[in-house]
Structure formats: C-alpha cells, structure tokens
C-alpha cells in the first residue's frame, strides 16, 4: 500500500507509468504518427544527398557518401531531439503534478529515455534499409559507435535537464535554445567533411563536442575515412556527464520552484 511503499518503488512505478503514457501519445497521436518518426530523418538524408551530390565533385571521403551523411544526421538528431523533447517535458506534463508522486525530474528523464529508444529504432531501421539497398553500413568498430551515440544521448539528456529548468523559470530561454540549434547544426559537420576546412576555422570547430562525436562515429564506421586530428572521446564524455549532473543538480536546487504554478 501507499504508506509502506519505498521511495525507490514509487519512483519506479511512476517512471513505468509515465513511460507507457508518453509512448502511447507519441506513437499513436494523430494519423500514423510512428511513420513520421521515420520519414523525418529519411527525408533529411534524401534531401541532403540530392543537393550535395550536385556540388560534390572530385572529393574522396574514404567513406560512402550516404553513410557519411546518415551517421551525422542520426547523431545530431539524437542529440537535438533528446534535448528539445525533454526541455518541453515539464510544461507538457503540468497536469500530472497533481499527483504528488510525480516530480518534474521524472517526466524529463522518462521523455529523454523514450526519445533515446525511438531514435535507436529509427537508426536501426534506417541502417537496415541502407543495408538492403546495397550500402556497406556494417561498422568497423561497433563499440565506439555505440559509445559515441550513447554519449550523444546522455549529452542531450543533460542539456534537456538544464533547459527544462531554465525554460520553466525563464520562458524566453526555451525560444532562444530552439534558435541556437540551427547554427549548431552547421558547425557540427553534419553535411560537410570538417577536414576540408582551413585550420584556423577547424581549431574553433574542434571545441564543439557534437562535431567531435560525429567525426569519431564516422571513423569507427569506416577506418579509411579521413578525419580531422585532435578528436577525443573523453572530451565528448566530459561534456555529456558534466551537463547530465549539472542538470540533475539544477532539478534538485529548483525542485520547489518548478512545481509552483
């Protein structure tokens, strides 16, 4: 019964309940909602392929061009949608805080987890489709690929935790964050190989952990891919863990303010 349930068991049943609820509304909300989850990255990939194929002459990457784009798109999308979806979690689930068992950090973490699961399936289906279409998409170093994508998810969750607190306390922050993801896309090397850039620009871009992660994932898919020098998994991991724990700390600090209406 309620009065002898431990805090851990309450939290687990809350996570379970929110997960199922979020999954149902995400996958069955509207007509064939799950199709659109898949259509978005595939359309993204197709458009970039069509556009970039016309301007890409005589550049050898050492990796199949479609795979080059797919790895970048999936990694960046995993980070962005985890961050943005979990940022909106608190305002979308305000009604649930009527139950005192549900805390703001619960809905944010569960949303981030659900987004990770969805992106995992989207990625697997996309790679399976590419494999059937004859592309060589089997990674040469699968462990590093998994590690990098795991770090992208954790980094996205951390940013989501931070932004969920920030955008609840200062609503304008949410709009600014949405805008910031556009330039981030261009400096993450999703649609161009960073090795082609002049070194003075590259030095700055290397500060971006997303760009480092995307490059690391590409080089672990294909060892012949010419990547930039100075990549470090530890750098990406530091950002991911630091943002995650800082985000959790913000939720502890502002737990009360977040519940106020």
């Amino acid at each position: 019964m309620d009065n002898i349930r431990s805090s851990a068991s309450i939290t687990l049943s809350v996570w379970n309940a929110i997960f199922l609820r979020e999954a149902v509304s995400r996958v069955s909300g509207g007509r064939a909602a799950w199709v659109w989850l898949l259509v978005e990255p595939v359309a993204h990939l197709t458009i970039l392929m069509v556009v970039l194929s016309t301007v890409r002459h005589g550049i050898t990457l050492g990796i199949d061009f479609a795979l080059f784009l797919a790895v970048g798109i999936l990694g960046y999308t995993l980070f962005r949608s985890t961050a943005l979806r979990s940022m909106a979690a608190i305002s979308a689930n305000r009604a649930l805080f009527a139950y005192r068992q549900v805390k703001p950090v619960d809905v944010v973490l569960v949303r981030a987890f659900l987004e990770g699961v969805i992106q995992l399936f989207v990625g697997l289906i996309m790679f399976a489709g590419m494999l059937l279409a004859g592309f060589d998409v089997v990674p040469y170093d699968p462990l590093t690929v998994m590690l990098v994508y795991g770090l992208f998810w954790l980094f996205g969750t951390g940013i989501g935790l931070m932004l969920s607190v920030g955008s609840t306390l200062i609503p304008e922050l949410g709009k600014v964050a949405n805008i910031c993801f556009i330039p981030l896309y261009f400096v993450s090397g999703v649609m161009f190989p960073p090795v082609l850039l002049p070194p003075e620009v590259l030095d700055w871009l290397l500060l971006n952990p997303i760009m480092q992660g995307v490059e690391l994932a590409r080089s672990s898919f294909s060892p012949s891919y010419t990547t930039v020098t100075g990549l470090d998994v530890g750098y990406v991991a530091a950002f991911a863990f630091a943002s995650f724990f800082f985000g959790l700390a913000l939720h502890v600090r502002f737990a009360r303010r977040l519940l106020m209406q």
């Binding site: 019964m1 349930r5 809350v14 509304s25 139950y99 068992q101 519940l259 209406q261």
Partner: protein, 222 residues
C-alpha cells in the same frame, strides 16, 4: 491524521514575490473526519488543498500526513486530454502501485463513473460533468484515508450526486474528506466540521453550520 502547523504560503508572480495567501495556519484534522473549507474566492482554499495534497510545499511551516491522502481532485488536474479515460485510469493505477490489479480498478472506474462508451474516448471530448465523474470514480478506486476534493464532488447530475454521497456515507467509518465547494447544500451533506479561511488565517469550527454562518456574516458586513 493531518497536522498543519504554522503554514505560510505565497506565490512567485511576474512582478516579484506575491502577497501572503496563507499567514500562519495551524490545525489538526483527526482521522475519519470530513471537513469543508469555506471562504471567499482567492481566500486560499485551493492553495491549502494543494499543500495538504503534497502538490506544493509551504514557504514556512510544515504539514504532516500520517495517513494515505488522495491527490486533490479538481477541474482539469491530473487528466491528459489527448488520452482516453481508460488510459488515464491505467496511468493513475500505475503510479499508485497497482500495476498488478489494473483490470479490477478499471472495471470499478468504468462502472462507477457510468461513462459507457465515452470511457474509451479522449478526455478532451468530455463535458465538465463527465470529467468530474471520472475523477471522482478514479479516486474512489483506491483506498485512501483522506480524500481531497476541489469543487469536483459536487459536479454531475442529480443521480450521480446521490450516488457519490452514498459512496461517501459508506466509507465514513474508514475515510475522511476535505472539500472545497461553493454549494452550501453539498458542504452540509458531506462535511461535519468546517474551516473558514479569511485574511490568510484559518478558523476551525466543529460544526460546518457554524463555519457557514461565520462566513456568511463576514460577507454581509462587507
């Protein structure tokens, strides 16, 4: 038993810190007692219910719940519009740790709320009467010691009101009720004791009729 001790509450507004809504409220609600909250609009009735329900925390003072307290049933709270009544009922069962006997709870809620086919329709298509029937049935599906109702028990048509009252009469020996309502008849029907909230303070009355009288006299003076 619920102990409310020197509770202060104010809200953060867009223009800084707001006025004190509750200024040092203390009372103890003994087990199995039904209490009605009366007071003007904005006197802090809903705020107090949210604090007792544990949804919000007081700025100063403390609230101890030595029993199982329901969530505050109120308009719009706790139900997600895009999901059906059944899905919402499942969610509430899960967070209260009743994953195993969800079918029983669902059967009870469907039966008591008398929603029929609407139980499988999204909540956003419900009328306010249907919503409150669902909320009321939901809270009765779980064994709480104290039920908190913010205007919701009074909603619904005449036959449902009678049914709700009968359900509470049946539980009177094991559960209490804390309710806010502007319907005098509803308060008299459900509650024995009363709390009158005014100017951020709370006055306890052992008889709800006295609380209603004090409240009405204060309006007459203004």
């Amino acid at each position: 038993m619920i102990v409310v001790e020197d509770v202060h509450k104010r809200y953060q507004t867009e223009h800084g810190v707001g006025k004190w809504v509750l200024k040092g409220i203390s009372f103890t609600i003994p087990p199995r007692l039904s209490v009605g909250l009366v007071g003007r609009n904005g006197a802090g009735k809903s705020t107090l219910l949210r604090l007792i329900g544990g949804v919000d925390t007081p700025n100063r003072g403390r609230i101890e719940r030595h029993c199982r307290v329901s969530w505050p049933m109120g308009f719009g709270g706790g139900l997600q519009g895009s999901l059906t009544g059944r899905q919402n009922a499942k969610f509430v069962s899960r967070i209260h740790g009743h994953e195993a006997d969800i079918p029983d709870r669902l059967a009870y809620v469907a039966d008591f709320s008398e929603l029929g086919d609407a139980f499988d329709q999204p909540i956003k298509t419900y009328s306010s009467g249907m919503r409150s029937r669902l909320q009321f049935a939901l809270s009765l599906a779980f064994d709480f010691d104290v039920y908190i109702s913010d205007e919701v028990t009074a909603a619904g048509d005449a036959s449902f009101k009678a049914k709700a009252a009968a359900a509470f009469k049946n539980m009177a020996d094991r559960a209490g009720l804390i309710m806010v309502s502007h319907g005098e008849g509803t308060l008299k029907q459900f509650c024995s004791a009363g709390i009158w909230l005014h100017d951020g303070r709370a006055d306890w009355f052992d008889d709800i009729n006295d609380a209603l009288r004090a409240y009405k006299e204060s309006i007459a003076v203004c």
